[in-house]
């Protein structure tokens, strides 16, 4: 691969740098003034950011809704966790695991590479089919993938522990790691968006027949975007497992899918900056709502405990964005173009 960048990619570097500065500013603020429990929130935000930016790569550029990302995230998380957890710990947490899964341990690096390649291969295999489908077809097959993977997690409790916690994963990552990953993700996604492939993909989304007539290989571009997307999700999954130390099947299902999709469409699925901004806004909104949900004492009035408020907010955001702002906050714009009028 040559390092020669086209003009849009060079513009992309500017935009990505701006977004990275935003990320760094947030992290810096935390180190200066933050309280330790906020590290967890920040970490989770950046994991979500990885996923949302990854979603942007396929869903945003190809403009096809897909819901399977938390499945890929789950696969990578479990693979990495099973590889990296010390055998002694696995003897306790996975006593019945078959094929000697609880009798070996690998270094974090090898575990990460293994998790990435397994998820990548699965992404490639599913992508071969996905790239050939259109519109609702992709959505339904992606839901099928999500449901299938989830049922396997729940069914093979001897390997995945189902809805119970798989514990004892060494805590390898911390805030600096995920910050670097998030920034890298922003750069990669942006460079992809402005690359020839990204352009072709966006052209296909607008007019598939037209793009084909111009000689664009629709399948290949979709496949490439799909696989890159799955690698993003895999990275997010690994980062998730390496920080929390315990994982279970529950978070890798519909709720997380909705959360991330809402983040993407609020920001505007056609731009990487939109993905980043949407993630940050929804995270902030949800933190406020979660606080309200627990029934805080506001001095004058004691708020009642309200479960479901955060979900409600998520739904309202999705509907409101779709109704009033179908292109999201950023529309087709990136952060360096923020003062330009949205071309459409």
């Amino acid at each position: 691969m040559t390092l020669r960048l086209n003009i849009n990619q060079r513009k992309g570097l500017v935009g990505s740098t701006l977004l990275s500065l935003l990320i760094l500013a947030i992290v810096g603020a935390y180190y200066l003034w933050g309280e330790s429990y906020q590290a967890r929130i920040l970490y989770a935000t950046f994991v979500n950011l990885l996923v949302v930016v990854g979603l942007q790569v396929f869903m945003g550029n190809a403009k096809i809704t897909s819901f399977s990302h938390s499945a890929f995230m789950g696969i990578a998380a479990y693979v990495a966790a099973i590889c990296v957890t010390p055998a002694a710990m696995k003897a306790i947490s996975l006593p019945d695991a078959p094929w000697g899964l609880n009798a070996f341990e690998l270094s974090p690096l090898v575990s990460v590479l293994l998790a990435l390649s397994i998820t990548g291969i699965l992404g490639l295999l599913t992508g071969l089919f996905m790239a050939r489908l259109t519109g609702v077809g992709v959505t339904i097959v992606s839901i099928a993938i999500l449901v299938i993977v989830h049922s396997i997690f729940l069914h093979r409790t001897d390997i995945f522990k189902g809805n119970q916690a798989f514990f004892g994963i060494p805590k390898i990552f911390d805030l600096p790691h995920i910050t670097i990953l998030a920034i890298a993700a922003i750069f990669i996604a942006r460079l992809f968006r402005e690359s020839a492939f990204g352009l072709q993909l966006r052209a296909c989304a607008d007019d598939e027949i037209g793009a084909r007539a111009m000689g664009v290989d629709v399948y290949r571009t979709r496949l490439i975007a799909w696989v890159i997307g799955t690698l993003f999700f895999a990275t997010a999954g690994i980062a998730y497992a390496f920080f929390l130390g315990t994982i279970s099947a529950r978070p890798f299902y519909f709720n997380f899918v909705f959360l991330t999709v809402a983040m993407l469409i609020l920001g505007g699925l056609r731009s990487v900056s939109g993905a980043v901004i949407g993630t940050l806004l929804i995270t902030i909104g949800l933190e406020v709502v979660r606080w309200l949900e627990t029934g805080p004492d506001l001095g004058i009035i004691k708020m009642p405990q309200m479960l479901g408020l955060s979900g409600l907010l998520l739904g309202v955001v999705i509907v409101a964005v779709m109704t009033f702002l179908p292109n999201g906050i950023m529309g087709n714009r990136e952060i360096e173009e923020i003062f330009k009028k949205d071309p459409g």
Binding site: R132, G137, L154, G315
Partner: protein
């Protein structure tokens, strides 16, 4: 023999439930191109309103059934008015995501105003008895369900064939603007479609309630997911396709349960979805839908 008939009935009744829900999805989709994922919450709304009516007014199951049907029709038309009218004519993704949003809102409203846990509502479980016909023992609910679905489909078909609004709804699936050019109000056609999908959801709700005896915020989600799959198998937007897909899925699900060893029971859903993915890869537009041409209409 007993076992075979039991399983056939199982398949038919599962299939009937999916077909009912799938038809509701297909009617709306065929006319306005909206994949209405909030359909499951219409079903759940029927369940919750039944609890409200049962505690406040009457426990008479027949009255309650009518109330459930009415509630589902009401909520479906209200959703069309407040949420889906604004995204009419928007692309598929916008509609799909809006519907997901509505679905999440309703689920969480049920959670907030009702309870996260299932609430008991046992007024309909009297429908589920074991009947002994000769030497064969079958569940009465399964028979009711199959018969009611067939009757509902026949009524629906008659409506679509015989009434002006019904014909307009079929015409709108092909060329909505031309229907408007014939002087038929777009809002009436779409509201009609939603009302009908609500009615079908209400029917499905009665049977789901009879089987479960309780309501929960997420009760409609899984059935609609499966029904969505049924629609896709049959060819999205095709009404006969939705029915066919529903029954096929019912058969599939029972076959998977019968054929797979007991210990793999948890994987039934996975196998069904895998089959669906394969069908889609084989025929991306579904079984019953003709290959569509891309590009502009001349």
């Amino acid at each position: 023999m007993d076992y075979v008939i039991q399983q056939v009935l199982n398949a038919l009744s599962f299939g009937a439930e999916y077909a009912l829900i799938a038809l509701g999805l297909a009617i709306v989709f065929s006319i306005m191109g909206l994949v209405n994922f909030a359909h499951g919450e219409v079903i759940a709304f029927g369940g919750y309103s039944m609890i409200v009516v049962a505690t406040l007014l009457t426990g008479n199951p027949w009255v309650l059934m009518i109330m459930v049907l009415a509630a589902c029709v009401l909520i479906a038309t209200v959703l069309e008015r407040v949420a889906f009218r604004t995204v009419r004519g928007a692309d598929l993704t916008t509609g799909l995501l809006t519907a997901f949003g509505v679905s999440i809102i309703l689920q969480n409203l049920f959670l907030l105003l009702g309870s996260p846990r299932p609430m008991a509502a046992t007024q309909f479980i009297f429908l589920d008895k074991t009947l002994t016909i000769g030497a064969i023992r079958v569940s009465s609910l399964q028979i009711y369900e199959t018969v009611a679905t067939v009757v509902a489909i026949i009524i629906l078909l008659t409506f679509l064939r015989r009434t002006t609004l019904g014909i307009a709804m079929r015409a709108a699936a092909l060329d909505f603007e031309m229907v408007r050019l014939c002087g038929i109000r777009a809002n009436r056609v779409i509201a009609g479609a939603f009302a009908m999908s609500g009615l079908l959801a209400g029917l499905a709700c009665i049977f789901i309630m009879a089987r479960r005896g309780s309501v929960s915020p997420h009760m409609g989600f899984d059935p609609v997911l499966t029904a969505f799959v049924a629609c896709v198998i049959g060819g999205f937007g095709s009404l006969p396709g939705a029915v066919l897909g529903g029954f096929l899925l019912g058969i599939c699900e029972v076959a998977v349960q019968v054929l797979l060893p007991q210990s793999y029971g948890g994987l039934a859903q996975a196998v069904v979805f895998a089959l669906v993915a394969l069908i889609l890869i084989w025929r991306p537009d579904g079984i019953l839908s003709p290959a569509q041409e891309k590009g502009d209409k001349i």
